[in-house]
Amino acid sequence: MDIHFTPEELAFRSEVRAFLEQNLPADIAEKVRLGRRLSKEDHQRWQKILNKQGWYAVNWPVEYGGTGWSVVQKHIFDEECAAAGAPRLVAFGVNMVAPVIIKFGTQAQKDYYLPRILRSEDWWCQGYSEPGAGSDLASLKTRAERDGDHYVVNGQKTWTTLGQHANRIFCLVRTDPSAKKQEGISFLLIDMDTPGITVRPIITLDGEHEVNEVFFDNVRVPVENLVGEENKGWTCAKYLLTHERTGQAGIGLSKAALAHLKDIAGAETVAGRPLIDDPLFRARIAEVEMRLMAVEMSTLRILAATRDGGVPGAESSLLKIQGSEIRQAISGLMRKALGPNALPFLEPELEPEFDGEPLYRDYSASPASQYFNLRKLSIYGGSNEIQKNIIAKQVLEL
């Protein structure tokens, strides 16, 4: 047993760091550091840079254009990216639908969709949740009826993240209403340009347009867009969710956020003295840092124990809970560090195009907004309560 990185791993870290220094656009890193919103173009610019290097599809098998990296390498890569201020990758295409297509898709689907994802030609969104089907996802009602060589889709999806940018959506739809809940569901790939699809924004409490409602009114989808077998979509859905959760521990992001928190605590002053010198606040930072250390070690340990590409089973639920709670705790301290300076709601300063003078400091506009936005971490991808149910059932066998 040895928790130190090997010389190869250290060399890999230097390689990643050098790459980021040379290739990560400074304007994008600046927006990320200051918690500004990113445009679609910002995301795509960065994806293309990564793809050119062959480092975009980190989790794919090598034969499809993946990296073949070990769990430790992926961890190092994530950590370096976050530390450098690289944007968090929008997972829906590269890290959600792609693994499903690779595992369950036809050759034609692989040949068509995977290269388009690699080249950032497609922007995917996730059509799982519905107004009546959140935690109880399997109760979804969006209906797909076979009509010749098409499915006709009717229903509504909701909370569709960044659906306003997407040209494709992967959906769970009900193909057999008479079967048991989980058994009549299929996994469909749908072109957002198909007639009958309407996207409506949902504005979140921080004033952001990040999620949407998507309505389907007699939308005709070719049958070859079915992934896996008809009525076996739940298998794909679950496979994808474990991938989603594993990515959500977000250790690299927490570390970067913690570093930013220390910067803020160093810059803010309380009665003329740096906040970082206040023993109580310092202790609060120390506490999350120690916990983060424990979560990081646990993530590495649990991921290292898995064979099939770093996708653990029910343990991913443990990591999701711990990881999301740490990130939320750091975001709470960040807001707190600003004291009264966290109050102003300066939306223009959060926009991707903002290049004016900040009202106060460049870092002060986003912490409160971010704190409220990150409430989502314990809700989506299966809420933390649902993760605890999974642990109780599958790990503890209660």
Binding site: G134, G207, G332, L343, P344, E385
Partner: protein, 384 residues
């Protein structure tokens, strides 16, 4: 001890409750927020007609002469309605400072029009580096012929954009304590930058460049405003606890209702024991917060003492912790819906969290309390 309201107090509570319910529905509130003023002048007029704006002001100055208890009753309902008007900062805090520090002439000149709701006040006591410590102000007041010249930058003056008169902290020279001045925001050299706060009410930054104020703009003795600021912040935080309480009660009510109606896995989610226990915990914290709000209201107007300071710090500490818990958990228990702008719950959550960013957060009050902690002799001997 008596925890009952008298008849007059009950009437006051009912009046405000009814007014808020009838005029401050969530959609109306959104319209007030989106309007250029960012609040409802009409609602303010109604508060004034019913005499509510005069509640915290002394009877000598055409006020109602209410105590911390009356302030609590008003603020609780304003909190329940997520009201955007600067009642706390103008009627309680700023007016309290004038009442405590002002000369008879200053009080007579200003307070009656504040009581009637015609004149709005604000307090500019936070700067980039003060962070809940107004006594650390770095704004300067330089004596000049027949007055002073003020310079510096004030941050997040709540209600400052609307205020007709702003109370500004500044110091005359290094080593000296802080002084308080009346400022006409239209004076030459003052610039105001307004913005909404993330929980709704509007505030502003104030840039003061060599602003001339007359000799009688000084409130109270030069360099000695510190204790009054601390005392009045205590009164304000007591009222603020009540605002939080009203908002917590509403967030809790909405969440409880939601747990009974939202169906997942074939039953209302309130059937899940994990959520039942969470609600039970929140209910417990809410109860503690209610008790501490009452305690704070009852001691807010007591003469200054360490006992009063301890109790007020404890109240804000307990209420701030409960506010954060209830804000975070009500969102969590609602799932995605709890995060949407369209639903009042999210705005309660924001208000509850951001109230901790005014008049000191839990850590600040933990520090205040620790500093005043009573140590029995025996314990200090053991330590030694």
């Amino acid at each position: 001890m008596n925890f009952e309201l008298n008849e007059e107090q009950q009437m006051l509570a009912d009046t405000v409750e009814r007014l808020v319910r009838n005029t401050y529905g969530f959609e109306q509130r959104e319209a007030f927020y989106q309007s250029p003023q960012g609040y409802s002048p009409e609602f303010w007029r109604q508060l004034s007609e019913l005499g509510i704006t005069s509640v915290p002001i002394a009877t000598d100055y055409e006020g109602f002469g209410g105590t911390g208890v009356e302030n609590m009753l008003v603020m609780k309902e304003l909190g329940r309605g997520l009201c955007l008007e600067p009642y706390l900062h103008s009627q309680v805090y700023a007016a309290g400072l004038i009442q405590q520090l002002g000369s008879v002439e200053q009080r007579q000149k200003i307070l009656p029009s504040v009581a009637s709701g015609e004149q709005l006040l604000a307090v500019a006591d936070e700067e980039a580096g003060t962070h809940f410590h107004p006594e650390a102000s770095e704004c300067t007041a330089v004596p000049c012929e027949r007055g002073w010249r003020l310079s510096g930058h004030k941050r997040v003056v709540i209600g400052g954009e609307l205020a007709h008169t702003i109370l500004v902290t500044a110091r005359m020279s290094d080593g000296d304590g802080v002084s308080l001045f009346l400022l006409d925001p239209a004076a030459e050299g003052v610039s105001r930058t307004g913005y909404p706060c993330i929980d709704g009410p509007r505030a502003c930054d104030l840039e003061l460049s060599d602003v001339y104020v007359e000799a009688d703009a000084l409130i109270g003795p030069a360099g000695k405003a510190g204790p009054a600021l601390a005392y009045q912040r205590g009164r304000a935080l007591a009222a603020q606890c009540a605002e939080a309480l009203g908002s917590m009660e509403e967030a809790f009510r909405l969440t409880l209702e939601y747990l009974k109606t939202r169906q997942q896995f074939g039953s209302p989610i309130g059937r899940f024991q994990a959520l039942q226990h969470r609600m039970a915990e929140m209910r417990g914290e809410l109860e503690l917060a209610r008790s501490m709000t009452i305690l704070a209201a009852c001691v807010a107007d007591d003469p200054d003492s360490s006992e009063r300071s301890r109790r007020l710090a404890a109240a804000k500490f307990v209420v701030a912790r409960a506010s954060e818990l209830i804000a975070e958990q009500s969102i969590q228990l609602h799932g995605g819906i709890g995060m949407t702008w369209e639903y009042s719950l999210a705005h309660h959550a924001k208000r509850l969290v951001m109230l901790t960013h005014q008049f000191g957060d839990d850590d600040f009050h933990l520090g205040q309390y620790s500093a005043l902690l009573e140590i029995p002799r025996q314990a200090s001997r053991q330590v030694a």
